[in-house]
């Protein structure tokens, strides 16, 4: 008697659960604006009321551009709160990217205690569409308080930390490590999610970054673009037109690399 081997995929749905899949459909998330990222996030997007840690060692790799699609959607009367950013959020660039400046609240407390307080208040008030904060030195209790506040206020909190914080356990619903890939694209490694572990990092082409990285510019031969106050300057596209253009350029994302056979681990 011959037995014809069949693959697991051919079995009726529900008979076999495989480790690389989510055990139960997680609550729906907020689409991140990047199909490749949505595919690996539980719920198909950013969690709605949770602490999300973004570990990133150096600025300027597209860490803010990753959140621009979220920031664009902020509408009155909700705030977009930036608590203790390390540098000045630059208004012309944000306006160019379509972020509603009038909803941006830049909170700059001096002491760490006040930073934590302001973050929690922003979360608990329920009037912020999202809260961004930059704090590396946080102990477990402080992280847990932030996570609870995010849940209670149903507001996502994006916490930017240095990469060494990855060694510290965290109650965050999602931990992503951000790096630069070889080709200049943003590489996203999912360190923790509420679902099975993901081994391979993700590559994201960020449409909002200044310029595609591979066009090398010959500085010596090109005539400089001039912006002189009395001289004529080239009128650029309006901010909306540029945003639309950037969206048009951003093509469909490649399918996520999802290796089979990774042992499952359920976090949280």
């Amino acid at each position: 008697m011959s037995v014809r081997p069949i693959s697991l995929d051919q079995l009726p749905a529900g008979l076999v659960w495989r480790g690389a899949r989510f055990a139960a459909p997680p609550p729906s998330g907020r689409p991140s604006g990047f199909a490749a990222l949505d595919a690996v996030l539980p719920g198909g997007g950013w969690p709605r009321g949770a602490l999300i840690e973004l570990l990133c060692e150096q600025p300027g790799i597209g860490e803010l551009s990753l959140l621009l699609p979220q920031m664009r959607q902020v509408a009155a009367p909700r705030w977009l709160a930036w608590v203790a950013p390390p540098w000045t959020p630059y208004a012309p660039a944000l306006a160019q990217a379509g972020v509603p400046l009038e909803r941006l609240l830049w909170v700059a407390p001096e002491r760490p205690r006040e930073i934590r307080w302001a973050t929690r208040q922003a979360l608990l008030s329920g009037s912020c569409a999202l809260v961004l904060t930059w704090q590396s030195e946080l102990d477990m209790a402080a992280l847990r308080r932030l996570q609870l506040a995010a849940e209670q206020g149903a507001t996502p909190l994006f916490l930017f930390r240095r990469r060494r914080a990855a060694l510290q356990p965290s109650p965050a619903a999602l931990r992503l490590q951000l790096d630069v890939g070889d080709d200049g694209e943003l590489s996203v490694r999912v360190l923790k999610r509420r679902g099975p572990l993901l081994a391979a990092p993700l590559r994201l082409a960020l449409p909002d970054r200044g310029r595609p990285g591979n066009t090398r510019f010959e500085a010596a031969t090109a005539a400089p673009r001039r912006h002189r106050t009395r001289a004529r300057f080239r009128p650029g596209l309006s901010a909306e037109a540029q945003v639309a253009l950037q969206h048009a350029v951003a093509g469909p994302d490649p399918a996520p690399a999802r290796p089979a056979g990774i042992p499952a681990r359920i976090d949280g």
Binding site: P59, L64, Y90, P92, A93, Q96, T215, P224, T229, A239
Partner: protein
Amino acid sequence: MDRHPRAVVVAANRSALTEGVFPGQALAGALAMVPALHVAEHDPAQGCALLEEVACWAGRFTPTVSIDPPDCVLLEVAPSLRLFGGLEALEDRVRHGLDELGLAHRCGWAPTPLAARWLSRAGKARPVVDIRRLGPPLDALPLAALADGSGVDDGVLALLHSIGCHKLAEVSALPRDALARRHGACVGDALDRAYGRRPDPRPVHAPPQRYRARLPLPVASDRHDILLFLLRRLLIGLGGWLAARHAGVDRLQIVLEHEGRRPETTLDVLSGAPCRDERRLLLLIREHLERLTIGAEVDALRLEAAAPVPLPALPGDFFDDHQSVRENAELLLARLRARLGPDAVRRLRTRSDHRPEHAGAQGTSDALPALSPGARPLWLLPRPEPLDPSRLELLDGPERIESGWWDEREVCRDYYLARNRGGSLLWVYRELQAPRGWYLHGYFG
């Protein structure tokens, strides 16, 4: 403490009453019975101020409020019943509100003011709505009720008692003109007003134009929780006064009076947007108090509200959810400013200036569109940092910016988009003037 030698007990709380103390008793006698009795001086002015406060607060239920001294506030609620969803719902609100003010109270509901007063005093909780049904409950009241707030004096009561009247029904049955000849018209007049046979107009309480309230502390204290508890009481009164005027305040002052001749401590509370919700105001005051170190114990609290600003009448409207988010958003802004200081909470806008450090500004006024045709970084360094160009790969540029000759802060720079060894995208520039140094001015986050 010196006391009047023939001081009498005016009122006593429940535990004192169970010990045998009763109103009208000589104080010496009461102290002899209960040596541990806690005695406070009766201050009629304070009682009046309290009635005034309750009358202001009651303005949220009806515009027709009158004070009936020494211990009663009358509300004409018939026109408000529909708004508040019936008598029971309104009664719940009134009782709940008085509990929140921390006042022991009795409520009575009747078609005439005097009947309402007598019935509430007698503890008849069942409201009488129809004036034709007013007779039986009033008839059943004891004779003593007649003297309450009606101008009938004790001598008349004693006489009525001596001729065998124990209930109001029996007084009503007496021949009216004979009674009037002996005691003036006061008895018949009071009965007519109570039974609704004669009109009983009352002066309508006119709330003050500016709200001020003062609350002395029973015991001087500098503890925040105690102060907040008492402030809440002041704010509830303010809330009622504001609700009656369909208004809110965006600024109020809390004054902490200290013992002796110490100067007062004043807190200026700004709420950002007009508001009359005591919880929101209390949250704001808490932030102010936490920043404050109170030097001395507080003796009394005073609240002075700024001129009221119009605000829609009812808090709950069709778009309630949206409204509450809006209020929370304003509250968050006000609280952050109160705790962290106004400089720590910033807003952004763009300005029409080619110089990068002037094109972004703090503030909220409507701005002209930014003049930034080239790519701009999301992060700008507050102060450009010198850097070594040999470690950079220039990707785009230069973009020449020469501007600002008019205000002594001229810039002449060539800006480049650059990538460093770590892969970060930087916004760097080279000074066009000697020594032609390279600087880092932003990150493309």
